[in-house]
């Protein structure tokens, strides 16, 4: 190979990679803001389904499982729910602003991350006042299709109902009080149960039990790393 060949090849590779890189960057710049907004909307929609009895959900604070940003919330019942309609001057759309007066916590919702087989699994879990799991839902993951993605299925999510922290343990095979693993996807099942949900509920318990009343008024509160 002569020097001339080497330069030619280098130039060829650089040029094509530059074009490719620019294309990907362009698409990313166009899509990422939309992606971000849609993901946020989906999370808000999911939050509403976590505690069907709650009239209002208010953010309690942030925490950082696996160095990722996650939030936790209080699900509240209101003494009086004041709804005021506000219209946006720019778009002319009306928006309902809800104000919760005399709020009582009926449970909590925590967002968590579990390290799965091929991705971090983003989960939401709601607990009652005794920190027993009511419901969980999977916000995002990239586990193997056909095996790990079974964690999204209703039959698996149902296995979490009413579980306390001590029972959030994955068992291979039949179990009554613990969480049964999905056959072929034990790692993903573990990630959801023990890493995502259990750590989230543990964090909630540490943060809120005993001191729950005092912390209610605080808007922002940072979890330990």
């Amino acid at each position: 190979m002569t020097t001339k060949d080497m330069i030619k090849i280098t130039f060829n590779l650089t040029a094509i990679y530059l074009v490719g890189g620019l294309l990907i960057a362009f698409v990313y710049a166009k899509t990422s803001p939309i992606m971000f907004i849609k993901a946020k909307e989906e999370k808000e929609a999911a939050l509403k389904t976590m505690m069907p009895d709650a009239q209002h959900i208010s953010k309690l604070g942030d925490w950082t499982p696996h160095e990722k940003h996650a939030e936790y919330y209080a699900a509240q019942e209101c003494g009086e729910l004041k709804i005021t309609t506000v219209s946006d001057e720019k778009t002319g759309k009306t928006k309902e602003l809800k104000e919760c007066i005399d709020a009582r916590d009926i449970g909590y919702i925590v967002e968590g991350f579990g390290k799965g087989y091929s991705s971090y699994i983003n989960v939401l879990a709601s607990v009652d006042k005794n920190f027993n799991v009511q419901k969980i839902s999977i916000l995002h993951h990239a586990e193997t299709p056909g095996l790990g993605d079974e964690i999204e299925k209703e039959y698996f999510l149902k296995r979490f109902e009413g579980k306390s922290v001590d029972n959030l343990v994955v068992i291979k095979g039949d179990t009554q009080d613990k969480v049964e693993a999905i056959s072929g996807a034990t790692i993903s099942s573990r990630a959801v149960t023990e890493d995502g949900v259990r750590n989230g509920v543990k964090m909630l318990t540490e943060k809120l039990s005993g001191g729950a009343k005092e912390e209610q008024g605080e808007e922002q509160q940072h979890g330990s790393h």
């Binding site: 090849i9 698409v27 899509t31 939309i34 990239a142 299709p145 072929g184």
Partner: protein
């Protein structure tokens, strides 16, 4: 560079049958085993592959004269990974419901031997239209293989099709586990080879009798 002399229809048929990715070439078996445990999964994967395979073949063929043969492999990698990223991001932004269904499959395609192989074997040596036909054929061939495998695995392993229960009773759970994937692919591959051997034998017999008749007449 050797151009193909096959017609576009022959190229499509070639990908579907005589050079079927799964049953003939036996490449990209890993995803075929991972995702074919239900008909819906197999279908989604198949659709995603048809699209990426065709687009990659088109692009490689389009820029084949700019690619230095010594660095073709990193360039194919870029094209495949680039397409997968672009499709993934666009779907995440603009086609959210479909993304939720097949987003995971799209990401898997980066590591597909079959797509790489067609770029290397065919698209880099041929003009655009035949390359697109080849990509389509290969994609459809893969799609059909996915459908056949996942049909049997879901039916036997879960007793349902497309999530709708069909057979009651205890299904053979092993069929939806990875081991069942190997069984299904192996048995189906054997079946298609056996069919092929029968057809070949019948053709040979016909040729023989035809030849025999010819001799008698003479």
């Amino acid at each position: 560079m050797a151009h193909t002399d096959k017609s576009n229809w022959e190229l499509i048929k070639n990908g579907m049958f005589s050079e079927n990715t799964i049953f003939r070439m036996a490449i990209s078996l890993c995803p075929s085993i991972a995702v074919t445990n239900s008909l819906k999964n197999g279908f989604s994967m198949g659709i995603a592959v048809i699209f990426v395979q065709t687009m990659v073949n088109l692009t490689v063929s389009l820029i084949r004269n700019f690619i230095n043969p010594k660095i073709r492999i990193p360039i194919f990698m870029l094209i495949i990974a680039g397409y997968v990223s672009i499709i993934d991001m666009s779907m995440a932004a603009w086609a959210r419901p479909i993304y939720k269904q097949i987003g995971l499959y799209i990401q898997l395609i980066v590591a597909f031997a079959s797509i790489f192989a067609r770029a290397e074997v065919f698209a880099v040596k041929n003009r655009i239209i035949p390359s697109v036909a080849d990509g389509l054929g290969m994609g459809i061939g893969f799609f059909l293989a996915m459908i056949v495998i996942s049909f049997f695995r879901e039916l036997l392993g879960k007793g349902s099709l497309w999530g709708i229960p069909i057979v009651s009773g205890n299904p053979l759970l092993i069929m939806i586990l990875p081991a069942g994937g190997f069984f299904a692919v192996g048995i189906l591959m054997g079946f298609f080879n056996w069919m092929d051997a029968r057809i070949a034998a019948r053709k040979a017999a016909e040729a023989e009798t035809a030849a025999g008749v010819g001799i008698e007449r003479a």
